[in-house]
Amino acid sequence: MNVISRDASNYSYVNARVRSRWALLLDADEYDTLTRMGPSEIARFLGESEYSPEIDALGSRHSGVDLVEHALNRNLARHFDDLLEWSQGTLYDLISRYLRKFDAWNVKTALRGVYSETDAGVIDDDFIRAGEFDDALLGTLEECESVESVVDALAETVFGDPLADALDDYEETGALVPLENAVDRTFYDTLLRGLNAATESGTREFVKFLQAEVDFRNIRNAFRLARSGGTIDPSEYYIEGGRLFEASELASLVENRDELVARLRESRYGDQLGPALERLESADSLIGFEHALDAALLGYADHLSHVFPLSVCPVLAYILAKEREVDNIRAIARGREVGLSGEEIEQELVML
């Protein structure tokens, strides 16, 4: 084990802090209590937890579900900014690579918002300020008049060139698909670009973690394609970098769902995926399966963070878990608002 890191990464410091934050995540009992509360009660409950800075800051302006949503987004951003602030060296680099997924999210949000002629304020609400983009850039993006100007505004970022390349396709088809795919692909490509797991300390675990994430993403999309049918070339939606399957095999697996399931049962994630696959058989909807898949990824991340305690894994596992918590609380608050029953809401929660 790497007791003393050779690069300047401060694993023990960051991981100690992350573990403390981890301990503050809500547990099943607290979720259960939340499902019986009204939106404002949820906000009040959060105001007495580690969400208090956000609730206190926003409580005089918003209320109910709105307040909860705003506080959740801000809280997420605060935690992830903190991660970057604490970490140094390779660790910093790896975390910032991973957090770029929020940049990708923000780019897609801007594209979709501008494309659907949504108000800047609504787009702004959906930004998650946890990536590298600063407020000025996000401000520019949400004010853009056309998809082309969004792409222009992003020229200086890693998404610039791939988006510019995809712009022709967009103009031809009028659909956002090429642009969205370009963003997602860029994110996954840049995640691992320039990393040499063999030589650089600390990156081996990162790669392992990401392979799992990519694999799970591919599994999820494979099932969506299998469900939707149609004549889609699955390789078009395949993300490189995983260890589970090749683009070429995906095509035949998507045609035959049973084969896909069998294949997954035997895979390295078989143990983790067991419950998810069972849920798949019992329900028509994929949402439940995706929840189980998310839970499986959480579990796998947790597993990695225990196997490699002094690595980037605990941080990444925390990022996943924190995101999950925010989604869960949001689901509860929204679910209560639209009048879902306690049981229905619990279906929407993902817990380890």
């Binding site: 009992d29 259960d32 209590t33 019986r36 509360m37 009204g38 939106p39 404002s40 009660e41 906000a43 009040r44 105001g47 609730i55 206190d56 800051a57 926003l58 409580g59 005089s60 302006r61 209320s63 109910g64 307040l67």
Partner: protein
């Protein structure tokens, strides 16, 4: 005292139409620690909040937010008052709007200030360069780069650049402005190209007129304006705070109580028409609570004392049989813990809680900590001067600080400080000087630290004493463990509890025996040989017998714990005991440090294996009176005036350092012995804090 306060489990059952009354009474009584319903009773669901919880929560969140934004503190509260519902509609809404406006304003001004600061920082290089700003931008054919870096390298790069026809370089320190006239066929950014690869930080040229100094002044002026704007917004906020603080705090309290009451059913079990609440209550409060409920509601509710929690954990919790588990509905909620110690020992509860709150079935080690920790600490520092300072600082913390933890720490410091004073008197030391030794004990204090060569025996004695203290302390730990296990039968207590102690004691009696004497360090037999003990080691017979007994203990241990026990048993019985030698080591180190500080200031000489500070006279005088003495250090105080001044600084800082290190080393090492070596033998912890349902009113009055 060694046990927490006895708790009773109480249930309250009634129909839904009295639930609010039950909550009101329970809230006022503030004794019931509610247990969450775990869903184990058929037909009973976990309850939902009462009507109005959401509305009150919404207001509460807003009020708290306002308190936070206005930075209201307890001191701002006026007299206690009644908050009416009307006030929560009218006054409240207007405060909210005003606060939001001012908060927006403040954010805007702060934003502007930040921007100005950035521009000021950006303008500074230009000021040092001194070239008028309008000369640096707005050219069609010329390229301008302003930056900071190795100006020579920039010069060379410009001279070498093929695409630049002519250039001019202005420098001031590391800051430079390069103006270039590129060839007509050169690419657009010829100048930038030329500078690629150089370690140069480029500055953006502000598109302003006039001298940079004027520009900077304009910015500074604007900054001042913004600052005064900020000041006025903040003063508005302050006056808003003064005006409404009392109302907001009272509203917060009123709404908190309202919400707390309305959400109480979250931990109840409910059906369509009935509810069932359970909780823990200190047994001595049960009668008054039950009669309060009966007075208010008579026969309409049922209050019952379900059990008085025994201090032994229920059988199912340790995995022996399941009868009780079924009997109380499979619940595993343990009674919350109210520690019950004499007032003087209470600060030490905090030290115990640092590890963990004792659980209800644990023995509360607070009292033992109270008896041993100060002794360890006092022994290690053993200095009247330091002791008085610790006591004084501790007293200040204990009486002045709001934080419970820090106040408790102060209490610990007071008691440890007093112990330090006691040991200091016995050692005869004040701030490392043997003044007490001379004036109280006439030069012969009962104890010595063993720092000086002549007292070497004492140092070895302390080492052995540390080991003996370890054996006592650890045996006590094992004894508590054995006692706890006794309820599972004598055999388990013997094999899993006592066996450890038998092994340890047996081993150490053998070590202190003259069996195989030649292989053992001499100090075992010499250090305690003086009167009154006259101990020169146990006889080999006793030694071998003890070892045999110890090995029996070891065998029992291995039988009970397996391979891990084998390794741990052997290791712990040796290292845990030796670990206590840190008592002697830290004592010597502290003494040594204080000595060094004094040595530097006063200087000292050595004679007959004793060190003497030169408090009154310099070395030359000593030489004349003690010709056999050797000089250790001349002492800054006896040197020139500059040395004296430096000496005073060293003296004060040095003792401050020793004082502080006393806390971090002696304190920590003592606490470590308690936590790691002592607690490790028996302590479980994990108790739940007793938090009775209710609220202490401070800003509102009822009715």
């Amino acid at each position: 005292m060694l046990r927490p306060e006895r708790m009773s489990k109480v249930s309250v059952t009634g129909t839904k139409n009295v639930v609010e009354d039950v909550i009101d009474v329970t809230h006022d009584q503030r004794v019931l620690h509610l247990s969450d319903y775990d869903g184990s009773i058929e037909g009973f669901d976990a309850g939902s909040p009462l009507e109005g919880a959401d509305a009150a929560s919404e207001k509460l969140v807003t009020v708290r937010s306002l308190i936070n934004i206005l930075d209201v503190t307890e001191e701002d509260a006026g007299p206690a008052r009644i908050v009416t519902d009307e006030a929560l509609e009218g006054e409240f809404e207007s405060v909210r709007q005003r606060v939001n406006e001012l908060d927006d304003e403040r954010a805007a001004v702060e934003n502007d200030l930040e921007a100005i600061d950035e521009r000021i920082a950006a303008a500074e290089p230009f000021v040092s360069l001194g070239i008028d700003l309008d000369l640096l931008w707005g050219y069609d054919t010329l390229d301008v780069v302003v930056g900071e870096g190795d100006t020579d390298a920039v010069g060379h790069a410009l001279a070498d650049a093929g695409s630049i026809r002519s250039y001019e370089l202005y420098t001031e320190g590391d800051v430079f402005a390069a103006v270039a006239y590129p060839e007509s066929n050169a690419p657009e950014d010829a100048l930038s190209e030329a500078l690629v690869g150089l370690d140069v930080e480029r500055y953006e040229v502000p598109e302003e007129e006039g001298s940079p100094a004027d520009y900077l002044e304009r910015l500074e002026h604007r900054k001042q304006q913004l600052k005064s704007d900020l000041e006025s917004v903040e003063s508005d906020l302050r006056s808003l705070r003064l005006e409404h603080a009392g109302f907001l705090l009272a509203a917060e309290e009123k709404l908190s109580i309202e919400v707390q009451k309305a959400e109480a059913p979250l931990s109840f079990a409910t059906t369509e028409h009935a509810f069932f609440a359970e909780g823990w209550i200190p047994t001595r409060d049960y009668e008054s609570y039950a009669s309060a409920l009966k007075d208010a509601l008579g026969e309409r509710i049922e209050v019952e004392e379900l059990e008085r929690a025994a201090y032994e954990p229920p059988e199912h919790e340790v995995g022996h049989g399941e009868q009780e588990a079924v009997a109380d509905g499979g619940r595993t909620d343990r009674p919350p813990v109210v520690q019950d110690n004499p007032k003087v020992a209470e600060p030490f509860e905090m030290l115990v809680r640092v590890i963990n709150r004792p659980n209800y079935f644990d023995l509360d080690p607070t009292l033992i900590l109270f008896l041993t920790f100060p002794v360890f600490y006092g022994f290690m520092i053993g200095d009247v001067g330091y002791g008085i300072l610790y006591t004084a600082v501790g007293w200040l913390m204990y009486t002045r600080l709001d934080s419970d933890a820090l106040a408790a720490l102060g209490g610990v410091a007071v008691i440890s400080g007093l112990a330090t004073v006691v040991f200091g008197i016995l050692y005869g030391e004040v701030f490392g000087f043997h003044l007490i030794s001379e004036y109280v004990w006439a030069g012969h204090p009962p104890l010595h630290k063993g720092l000086m060569p002549a007292e070497g025996e004492w140092a070895r004695l302390w080492l052995v004493v540390s080991v003996l203290a370890a054996l006592l302390h650890l045996t006590l730990g094992y004894a508590i463990d054995t006692y706890k296990r006794l309820r599972h039968g004598a055999w388990e207590a013997l094999t899993e509890g006592a066996s450890w102690a038998i092994l340890m004691v047996g081993l150490w009696v053998w070590i202190f025996s003259r069996a195989m004497e030649s292989a053992k360090p001499e100090l075992l037999f010499t250090s305690l040989s003086g009167q009154p003990l006259g101990f020169t080691g146990f006889s080999p017979m006793v030694g071998w017998a003890a070892l045999a007994v110890g090995l029996v203990g070891y065998a029992l241990l291995i039988y009970a714990e397996g391979a891990i026990g084998a390794v741990e048993g052997a290791l712990n019985s040796l290292t845990h005991v030796l670990s206590y030698t840190r008592l002697a080591a830290v004592m010597l180190a502290k003494g040594g440090m204080a000595f060094v500080v004094n040595l530097l200031f006063f200087g000292a000489y050595q004679t007959h294996g004793e060190f003497h500070f030169m408090l009154n006279h310099g070395w030359s005088h000593v030489q004349s009176t003690h010709p056999e003495a050797t000089l250790m250090f001349g002492g800054l105080v006896h040197g020139p005036i500059a040395a004296v001044v430096g000496g005073v600084v060293i003296f004060v800082l040095g003792h401050a350092l020793v004082l502080a290190l006393g806390v971090t080393s002696a304190g920590l090492q003592a606490v470590r012995l308690e936590y790691v070596e002592f607690f490790g033998k028996f302590y479980e912890g994990g108790g739940e804090k007793y938090e009775p349902f209710g609220h202490q009113r401070t800003y509102t009055t009822q009715d």
